[in-house]
C-alpha cells in the first residue's frame, strides 16, 4: 500500500490578486481520515478541487494515489468528491443518476444498478430512489450527493462540508458510515464543525492563508490535553 494517498507540494493558485493557495503542502496518509480546518477562504476547498482536477493550480505538484495528478483514464472510479455548492441534475431520479455514475466508473449495467441501490440504502434513501431529485428536500439531495461518493468503493473520498444540511440522525449515520471505511479508504473532510470532525478524524491539518500551518494526529492532540476546537483556537 502507498504511504500517502494524496501528496501535494507547494501548490499555488491565484484568483485575480488574491492568493487562494500559497505553497500548500500536505501528505494525506493512506487509509486515514484527514480533517481540514481553517477559516472561510483559507484554501481548503481550492485545494480539494485542485486535487480532483477541477481547478488548475498555478504551480506545484500533485500526486494522487501514487499516479501523478488527476487523470480520468487512471483515476476514474478510484477517487470521489462531494463538492460544495454543486447541484445535481434535477430532472433525474437518484437511482438513474447513481446508476449512470456507476456505469462511468466502469461497472456493468446490473452491477451499476445494484451499486446505486446499495449506496442509496446506506444514506437511508431507498424509498425515494425513483422520485425526481427536484422533489427531494435539501437534506435528501445532500444524501444523494454523499451516496455518489461511495459508489464502487473508491480509494480516496474528498468531502467538502459533508454534514451541512443534515439532521442530527443523518449526521450520526454519516459519521458512522465514514468511520466504517477507516483503514480501507482515505477520506479527507473539510468542515467547520470541529465537534463532528474531532469524533471521526484520525489526522487534522490546520489551513491558514492558502497553506498548511500544522498537521497533527488526533492522538497527539488528545495527548496534549486539547480538544480540536481548543487546538484550532490556539488555547
Amino acid at each position: 500500500m502507498i504511504a500517502s494517498a494524496v501528496s501535494t507540494r507547494a501548490l499555488t493558485k491565484r484568483y485575480g490578486k488574491r492568493k487562494a493557495l500559497d505553497g500548500f503542502t500536505l501528505d494525506v496518509p493512506a487509509g486515514s481520515i484527514m480533517g481540514l480546518v481553517g477559516r472561510n477562504g483559507s484554501g481548503k476547498t481550492t485545494w480539494m478541487m485542485s486535487v480532483a482536477g477541477l481547478v488548475r493550480p498555478g504551480s506545484g505538484e500533485i500526486n494522487l494515489l501514487g499516479r501523478g495528478p488527476f487523470d480520468a483514464s487512471v483515476h476514474s472510479g478510484r477517487i470521489a468528491i462531494l463538492p460544495q455548492d454543486s447541484e445535481l441534475p434535477l430532472e433525474m431520479t437518484p437511482l438513474s443518476l447513481l446508476s449512470a455514475f456507476a456505469r462511468l466508473q466502469g461497472l456493468g449495467a446490473k452491477e451499476a444498478k445494484a451499486s446505486a441501490q446499495k449506496a442509496l440504502e446506506s444514506v437511508n434513501l431507498s424509498d425515494r430512489a425513483r422520485a425526481s431529485i427536484r422533489s427531494l428536500s435539501h437534506g435528501m439531495r445532500k444524501r444523494v450527493m454523499t451516496a455518489q461518493c461511495f459508489l464502487g468503493e473508491p480509494e480516496l473520498v474528498l468531502l467538502d462540508e459533508p454534514m451541512n444540511g443534515l439532521d442530527p440522525e443523518e449526521a450520526e449515520r454519516m459519521r458512522n458510515f465514514i468511520l466504517s471505511g477507516l483503514g480501507r479508504r482515505t477520506t479527507v473532510i473539510s468542515s467547520h464543525n470541529l465537534l463532528d470532525l474531532g469524533r471521526i478524524a484520525t489526522h487534522v491539518a490546520f489551513v491558514e492563508d492558502g497553506k498548511v500551518s500544522r498537521v497533527a494526529t488526533m492522538k497527539e492532540l488528545s495527548d496534549s490535553g486539547k480538544t480540536l476546537e481548543e487546538a484550532y483556537l490556539g488555547r
Partner: protein
Amino acid sequence: MSSFARMRSVAAAELGVASRSRRALATVLIFSAITGIAMYLTISMFAAIEAELLKLLALPDAGETGSVTMTLWQSDQFNRMVSHMTRNSAVFADIQGRHPVVLAYAFFLFSLVPLVTLMTSSASVASDIRSGSVRYMLVRVSRAEWSIGKFFGEAAAVLAAMAVGALAAWAVAICRLPGWSALGLAGGVFDWTLRAWIYSFAYLGLFMGLSHVVRSPGKATALSVAALVALGIAANRWPWLEILSPSSSQTLLWRRDPAAFMQGAVHLVSLAFLYLGLGAFVFSRRDV
C-alpha cells in the same frame, strides 16, 4: 473502461436528462405543433390552388390533393422554369420526383433546424457548469470525453424531438391525403427528417462549443443567437467565409447523388467538431 464506453455513458446520461427536462419537453411539443400545422397548411394551400386551377380551366375534380401539382411539377416546361429559377439544376433534378407536400415539409424542417437546436442544446453545457453538476462527472471522465459524450447525447435528443415532429406531420398528412400510401409518405417524411438531423450537427457543435466558454445558460443562448447573426452577416459580406456557415451545405443535403450528399454531411460534421473542439479547448483550461 474504454474512452468510447465512457463517452457512450455520458451520452446516455445526457439523453436521460434531456428526456426528463421541461425545456426539452416544451421544445418537442412546440416543434410537433409547428410541423403538424405546417403540414396541414401546406396541404390546404395545395388544395386551394388546385381547386382554383381546376375551376379556371373548367376541368373535373382530380379527387386527390397534390395530384394536379404533381403533374405540373413533372411537366418539362415547368421543370425548365423552376430549374432556371433555382439556378441549381442538379438540386432541382434530385428533388423533381418527390411529392411537393413532402418537399414543403422538408423546407419547413430545414428552416426550423437552427431554432430547434438552439432551444434544446444551446444552454446544456453552461447550465451544468453553472449548477456545478459537471463536477460529479469530471472526476469520472475526462473533459474531452464529457464534451463529446454530451454532444452525442444532445444530438440524440434533437433526433428524438425531430422524430416526434415528423410523426405529427405524417399523421396530419395521412389524414388529409387518404389516397396516398401511408408508407410512402412515412418514407418521404422520415428521409427528410434524417437529412435535417445531419444538418443540425453543425448548429449543435456551434451552440455547444459556445456554451463551453460561459457560465450562464442565458448568456450561452444569447451568444448562440449572436453567432448565427454574425455568421450570416460575415458570409454575406465575405463570401469566402461561407464555408464556416452550416447553411452553406444545406443544398448538398437535398441531393440524391450520394457523393454530393456525403460532401455536405462531411462538411457539416467537420464544422460541428471544429466549433465543439474550440469550445472544449477553452473549457479544458478553465476551472469548474
